[in-house]
Symmetry: C2
Subunit: 231 residues, 2 copies
Amino acid sequence: MTRSRASYRTIRDEISRRIASRVWLPGALIPGEEALAGEFGAARATVNRALRELAEQGLVERRRKAGTRVALHPVREARFAIPLVRHEVEAAGQVYGYRFLSSVVVGAKGQVAERLGLADGARLRHVQALHLAGSAPFQFEDRYIILDTVPAAQDADFSAIGPNEWLVETAPFTHAEFSFFADAAGKEAQHLGIAPGAPVFVGERITWLAERPITLVRMVHPSRYRMVTRL
Amino acid sequence: MTRSRASYRTIRDEISRRIASRVWLPGALIPGEEALAGEFGAARATVNRALRELAEQGLVERRRKAGTRVALHPVREARFAIPLVRHEVEAAGQVYGYRFLSSVVVGAKGQVAERLGLADGARLRHVQALHLAGSAPFQFEDRYIILDTVPAAQDADFSAIGPNEWLVETAPFTHAEFSFFADAAGKEAQHLGIAPGAPVFVGERITWLAERPITLVRMVHPSRYRMVTRL
DNA sequence: TGACACAATATGTCTATACATAATAGCGTA
DNA sequence: TACGCTATTATGTATAGACATATTGTGTCA
């Protein structure tokens, strides 16, 4: 009976349900893997996988010897996919457009040098481009590429393919830092077709290849943009 | 030899390294689990776990029978922790302050009713509050709680403890939708101590308990706020 | 009483094996 | 050639058993 195919999914969802329905209260210790394995008629490894996923979701906290307890303040995390702009636009059912604006090689200085941990004067390629959804501006891209780390970027042609797309295929990264915030539109206002000072949604990203910075990019969206995720 | 303690971490990191160093190029098929198990002197299950994690990170794509290949456009995902405001402020080393602003029970209507999938007139408790970091406004919270789903919220006292904190301990959620965007400050400007129309960073969240909406909240931050994550 | 060592314990990980399942590739037939 | 069935194959999941490791709690000794 209940040849219930006690898969780790079943177990995970059932435990999740018990937490949601307050059978197991926040902070409470839940039965050990062995006990649950008994209850569900599964192997401990199966229960382990179920609990491990719940812990990743932040629904429970696990500690050796201490056991598993329902998270008191479920510090859950939202996950946002970071796709290519092109894919993002196309996924919304619109036609992607790309407009190259400018490119120049400069020496690192000031805030940019500091944020990248570079000595003043390190050579950077500074690229600006505009991404369109249909005929409407979608994202203004303002990017610095560290030529020491990615020498090939020196001569890359960004007039047809965006530097982002070029980079993901050419220079994989190992670490990254993302930050998102609201700002008032500055010089990019004209490219985005909005008034100077209008609110914009800014995403900044720095990527590294094992301690060496690859690129710093500032992606500016008009305020109609929404970054959405579900869980 | 290489009694190398071939843990799944070791394997995962080594594969990750090979991808980063372009030993295995984007789009390329990498050896099967069996082969890798052989190479690393591990069981297939161990290799499986390593690859499964890499797939979750978006670094590789796996399909039955087709095998595992290096993601062409690594659609990686950034994960943002969604902590309690209080913890967020305290983690920044500042003193958390809370100011209750208003609370009223209203009937659902218009956009709010629509977004929550509620019939017009469903009873909601509408709460407004301000969260402070030190003496500076940190977040303006504008929340609707669906009383059908959380009857206890009818009489809860939000003058000392914020509705967010009350909810996470009282009404765990099973699903959620997050969205983030930039906007121009409206009526909340005065509470945040900024000029009307100044850019603000807005986080909206809807949570559900198994198809039943719990709450809709709009969290408004002054533009100095940054949402940051690393990976 | 306090500090420290140690045993007990729950989770963490690995192995070997088996069967399940999705998806491809190839074969045979119309 | 086109279509559809089938065998094959790589991943997906489950199992029992074992050992590893972190952490708690206890007991001992100063």
